[in-house]
Structures are given as C-alpha cells and as structure tokens.
C-alpha cells in the first residue's frame, strides 16, 4: 500500500484493471475529498452527497472493469464528471416529480394537523355526527330525503337525480335547498352540533 501511494493515477488505474484490487483503494483515498466536496457544494446534503459519491464510484469500478475507460485526462476530473451527471439526473428526476421540499424553510407547510390522520376521539365524533345526520335525514319529507340520499349517499349529479325522479334540474336543486334548510332547523331544535373537526 505504501508503495502504491507514490504511483500515478494512470498506473493505479491500469493495475486495478489488471486485477490489483488494492489500487482502487488508493485512488478513492487520494481523490475522495475533492470529489465529495464538489458533490456537497452542489447538493448541500451530506447523505444525498454520499449516495451520489457511492454511485459515482460504482460506475467508475464498472467502467474500469469492463475495459471501457479511455485514459484521456485526469482521473479526478473523469470521476467528477460522472458525479456531475448523477447530480443533473437527480435534479431532473426531482423536477419531474414536482416534489416541493420544505427543507429550506423554518415553517413546514405540510406539518399540520389538517393533513394528519384523525385521532380516535375525532373518528368517534365524526361517526356520531354522521349517524345523527342520518337520523335527521329520515325525518325529511320523502321528495327531499330522496334528493339528499341520491346526491350525498349515491353521489349522483343533479342532472341524474332529475332524470331518475322525473323532475327538472331546478326542482331537484330546490328540493335539496329545502332539505338543507330543514336539516339545519331539525339540528337546532334537537341541539345537535353537526360540526366536524
């Protein structure tokens, strides 16, 4: 190993290709700081930089071992170009995925209870409210209940509701309006809170 430390990059590359596996260790140790500094300067994240560094050297090893390396410049520049291509690939992949990162912001927009799963208590309240709404719907006049069920339980459009009930769309809309007014009144009369968190 000590003897290898004084060898040129070209010689170490040739030795590695010829089967001296220790030569790549010297090349890695000799150039790791420069290549890694370049990657960190671009991506500014240690772990991501390490992933790119590792992938770059794996490509280097594959290229050397498959005899596809043409010695036409500095070894470190060649590895840096491989790392550069991986960095550009990473940027383009991120761009296509349209990932919005909060890493650079103190406030995390997505770290909100609005986006979190409901707690057991919230689930129970929601279940109770839906149950009470169901009870109130049963109290509506037939034609209004019909529209509410079709719209909110069967997810039909007002056009479809109008066709199924043989009325105009305006009549269906009117029935829904009266149904909602009646539901609010019935809820108030029974002191039922229909607010979901």
């Amino acid at each position: 190993m000590e003897k290898q430390l004084v060898l040129s990059d070209e010689k170490l590359v040739k030795d590695f290709v010829a089967g001296d596996r220790g030569s790549i260790d010297v090349l890695i140790e000799r150039h790791k700081a420069k290549i890694f500094s370049y990657i960190v300067m671009c991506v500014k994240q240690q772990e991501l930089a390490e992933d790119i560094f590792q992938e770059a050297f794996i490509r280097v090893i594959r290229t050397l071992k498959n005899g596809r390396y043409s010695d036409n410049g500095k070894f470190s520049s060649w590895v840096m170009r491989i790392a550069h291509n991986l960095i550009i690939d990473y940027y383009r992949k991120q761009k296509n995925q349209s990932v919005i990162s909060n890493d650079n912001y103190e406030y995390d927009l997505f770290n909100s209870t609005k986006f979190s799963d409901k707690s057991i208590e919230e689930q129970m309240v929601a279940e109770q409210v839906l149950n009470e709404v169901g009870q109130l719907v049963k109290l509506l006049p037939d034609n209004q209940r019909e529209v509410v069920v079709m719209r909110h339980y069967r997810d039909l459009s007002f056009k479809e509701i109008a066709e199924e009930t043989n009325v105009s769309i305006n009549t269906a809309l009117g029935r829904m309006r009266y149904a909602l007014m009646n539901l609010r009144r019935l809820a108030e009369e029974r002191n039922i809170s229909l607010t979901l968190s």
Binding site: F16, R21, I24, D25, I28, E29, R30, H31, K32, A33, K34, F36, S37, Y38, V40, M41, C42, A49, E50, F53, Q54, F57, I58, I61, R62, K65, N66, S76, S77, M80, R81, H84, I87, I88, Y91, R92, Q94, K95, S98, V99, I100, S101
Partner: protein, 68 residues
C-alpha cells in the same frame, strides 16, 4: 391539479456546471486537509464492491457477478 414546483432546478443545474468548471481547475493538493468527507462506511462499501465485482460474458452478452 397542475404540477407546480417552487424549486428552481434550472438554476441548480447551472450552479452544478459552474462548480464543476471551478473544481476541475483546482489542484488536488488543495483538498489534502479537507474535513468534508463521506463517512467511513461509505468508503468501505465502495472498496468491498470493487473487490466483489466481476464482469462476465454470458452467451455473448455482457453481464456481471457480485462475489461474496
């Protein structure tokens, strides 16, 4: 919903191009005492891969094996 991103990837690509041109001109010796390094286990993994990797030709096609 349209895909929108607030991140300027084009500017990052331009930065990467700029830094590549700068680093290529810097002498390797400048980094001799650098403290910016990948962690040791990353280097160990790469060196282990170098020892385990062996390209082979199977039925006229290039292939590879990882020897444990």
């Amino acid at each position: 919903m349209s895909n929108t991103s607030t991140h300027d990837y084009l500017a990052e690509e331009e930065d990467a191009n700029y830094w590549l041109s700068v680093f290529e001109k810097m002498p390797d010796a400048l980094f001799a005492d650098s403290k910016v390094m990948p962690r040791a286990f990353i280097l160990t993994k790469i060196k282990a891969f170098a020892r385990a990797y062996e390209p082979v030709v199977v039925l006229g096609k290039e292939s590879e094996v990882i020897m444990n």
